[in-house]
C-alpha cells in the first residue's frame, strides 16, 4: 500500500529537458526525498506522480498499477503545494472538508473528521477563518490537513517549508517529522534544503538539471557521494576541493597539490589507472583536524587566515600556499590570524574525484 515506481520518466518544456529518464522506487511507508537545487526537476517529477503534469516518456506505477492515464483524483494521492493552494473563498473548515465532500461522505462524518484532523494539527481554533487571515505556519497546517484527511496511499509534499521564515522553519521541521512518524504513510518530498532532507528522509534522491544523480540513505550519501555535485551539496559545511595530480614517487603514490603532497599509498590499487592525471581531492571541514604542532608525517602546514565563530564550533579558513581550506575546530582551540597551524586529514574520509566530475575512491 503506497509503493511508487517511476520508470524512465522524461518531461520536456519546449526544447528544454526538465526531467531526464529518471528511475525511482519508493517503498511502502518510506519517507523519500527529492533533493536538488531550483530547476533540478524535482517539483516536475512530483507533479507527474500526482498526475497534474503529463510525462512525455516513461511510466509511473502506484502499487504496481500503471497510472499514466489516470487523472489525479483516481490515483489516491494527496499533494501539498508549495504555495499551499488554499481555496481563498472557503473557510478553513470548508478547505479541510472539500476532499471529503468529493467522496460524498455524510455530513456528520465530515464534521467529525475535520474536527479530528484540526485537533491533530492544532488548528481547531481557526476553523471559521479565511485563508487570508492565517499566518504562514497556519496555512501550511491547513494544507497538510487537507492532504491527510483522506488518508491516501501516497503523500506528495512540494517544498513545504520553503515559504516559511527561518524561525518557523526549524520548528515546523520537527512538527513535520512528528506528523510523518505518527501517520506511517508513504511520503515523497521535494526540497532544495539538504538539512531538511538529511533530517527527515529515509532515502534521498539527488537531482540536478533533470538528472537523477544518486539515490540512497542520507548516511550513505554523506559518506559516499557519487560525484562532486553530490559531495558539495550534502553536508552542513561545503566540502573542500583541491586540484591535484596523482604522481608516483619512490614506489609510493602521492597527491601533488603544488603547495603540498599527500601520501595516498593505501589506495594504490584504486588510483593506479589515474597516475599522472588530474584529480580533485575532497575533504570535509569536519574531517580535518587542526593543531599547533605537527602530529604526524601526513600533517600539512598551513596559515590561519580567518576565524568565524559559528558557535558551538569555529570555522577556520586556512591557506596552504595559494589554496584556501575551511576547517571545523572546537572552540577551545585559540588561533590567531596569521598563526601557523598543522592540518591532519582523516585518511579514511577523503574523496578523490576525476576532474571530469566523477568519484574515484572513498
Amino acid at each position: 500500500m503506497g509503493k511508487v515506481k517511476v520508470e524512465n520518466l522524461t518531461k520536456r518544456f519546449g526544447k528544454k529537458i526538465v526531467v531526464n529518464k529518471v528511475n525511482l522506487e519508493v517503498k511502502e511507508g518510506e519517507h523519500f526525498c527529492l533533493l536538488g537545487p531550483p530547476g533540478a526537476g524535482k517539483t516536475t517529477t512530483l507533479r507527474m506522480i500526482a498526475g497534474v503534469e503529463k510525462p512525455d516518456e516513461g511510466n509511473i506505477y502506484i502499487d504496481d498499477v500503471l497510472v499514466n492515464d489516470l487523472p489525479p483524483k483516481d490515483r489516491d494521492i494527496a499533494m501539498v503545494f508549495q504555495s499551499y493552494a488554499l481555496y481563498p473563498h472557503k473557510t478553513v473548515f470548508e478547505n479541510l472538508a472539500y476532499p471529503l465532500r468529493k467522496l460524498k461522505l455524510p455530513e456528520s462524518e465530515i464534521v467529525k473528521r475535520v474536527k479530528e484532523t484540526a485537533e491533530f494539527l492544532h488548528i481547531e481554533l481557526l476553523l471559521d477563518k479565511l485563508p487570508k487571515h492565517l499566518s504562514g505556519g497556519e496555512k501550511q497546517r491547513v494544507a497538510i490537513g487537507r492532504a491527510i484527511i483522506r488518508s491516501p496511499k501516497v503523500y506528495l509534499l512540494d517544498e513545504p517549508l520553503t515559504n516559511l521564515d527561518a524561525k518557523i522553519r526549524a520548528s515546523m521541521r520537527t512538527e513535520l517529522k512528528r506528523l510523518t512518524k505518527e501517520l506511517k504513510m508513504t511520503i515523497i518530498y521535494a526540497t532544495p534544503d539538504q538539512i531538511e532532507a538529511m533530517s527527515m528522509a529515509d532515502r534521498i534522491a539527488i537531482m540536478n538539471f533533470g538528472n537523477l544523480l544518486q539515490c540512497d540513505t542520507p548516511k550513505f550519501l554523506y559518506e559516499n557521494p557519487v560525484d562532486m555535485f553530490v559531495a558539495e551539496f550534502i553536508g552542513n559545511y561545503a566540502m573542500n576541493f583541491i586540484d591535484c595530480t596523482i604522481i608516483e614517487k619512490n614506489g609510493n603514490v602521492f597527491l601533488d597539490a603544488g603547495d603540498f603532497i599527500y601520501n595516498v599509498s593505501e589506495y594504490r590499487e584504486l588510483l593506479e589507472k589515474f597516475i599522472n592525471s588530474e584529480v580533485i581531492l575532497g575533504i570535509r571541514p569536519e574531517h580535518i583536524s587542526i593543531s599547533k604542532i605537527k602530529q604526524s608525517e601526513d600533517s600539512i602546514e598551513a596559515k590561519v587566515y580567518l576565524v568565524e565563530p559559528t558557535r558551538p564550533e569555529m570555522l577556520l579558513s586556512v591557506k596552504i600556499g595559494g589554496k584556501t581550506l575551511k576547517v571545523v575546530a572546537t572552540e577551545d582551540l585559540h588561533f590567531e590570524i596569521g598563526e601557523k597551524a598543522w592540518l591532519f586529514f582523516d585518511k579514511k574520509k577523503i574523496h578523490v574525484f576525476n576532474k571530469k566530475s566523477q568519484k574515484v575512491i572513498i
Binding site: 499533494m79 503545494f81 493552494a85 481555496y87
Partner: protein, 277 residues
Amino acid sequence: MKISRKTKHYVEDTLCYIALFLVLIFTIFPIVWMFLTSIKDEADILTIPPRIFFNPTLENYNFVFERSKFFRGLINSLIVVFSVIAITLPIAMLAAYSFARFNVGGGQIQFYILTVRMFPPIAAIVPFFIIFRNIGLLDNILALIILNTIFNLPFTVWLLYGFFKEIPQDLEEAAMTEGSTRFEAFREIVLPLIAPALTVAAIFTALFTWNEFLFAFLTTRTEAITVTRVMAGFYTERGILWGPLSACATLCIVPMFIFVLLIQKYIVRGLTFGAVK
C-alpha cells in the same frame, strides 16, 4: 530675495490645485450644461446670451416620453444589451479560460481576435449591411445583437484572460488531487473567484453596447431603434429640438455614469483590454 523651500512648495501646490480645478470644471461643464438645457424651456434655450438662471421645467422630458419613440428605443436597447451580455459572457469565459490555461493555438487565435476589435465599424458594416439587406434582417434587433456581439467578444475575451491568468493554477490542481474533475474544479473553485471579473466584463459590454450608435443608425429604421437612435429623431424640419434632445441625452448618459462609477477601479484595465493594470 531668497524664496524659501516652504514658500516654493506652497506656490507649487496652489498652482497645481488651481490647474486641477480648471481641468475638473472643464470636464464636468458639458455634462452640467446638458442637464441644465434639458430642464429649460424653449425660450430659455434659444437665447443670447445663454441663461444660467431660469425656471426649470420638465416639458422636455414629457416630450421625450410622450412624443418620441423613447420607450421603444429603451426596450430595444435593453434587449440588445442583455442579449449581448448573455451570449458574450459565457463564450468569452470559456475561451479565455482555455487561452489562459492551455494556450490554445499558441497566441495566433488570440491575435486574430484582438485584431477584430481594431476594425473601424464603418468599414466593417458595409458588407454586413448588404448581407442583412439580402436576408431581410434590416430593422431587426437580431442584426444589432449580432454586430455588437462580434465587436464585444474580443475585448471581453482579453479582459477575462487577464483575470484568469491571475488565478494560480495550483488551486485547480489541488482540487483535482482531492477528487475533482477539471470541470468540477472550474465550477467550484475558479468560478467564484472570477465572479467580480465577470461583473466588470458585463458592465463594460453594457456600456459599449448601450452607447453604440453607428450600427443602430445604419441598420434600423423604426422597429428596432435603440435609445441612441432616438436622438436622431429630434432633427425636424423646424430645426433641431434642443430641449428634448438634451433630455434624451441625459437619459441616455446618466445610467452609464452609474455603471462607470461601479467599475471605476477597473476602468483602465478594461479600456486597455487588460493590458494595463
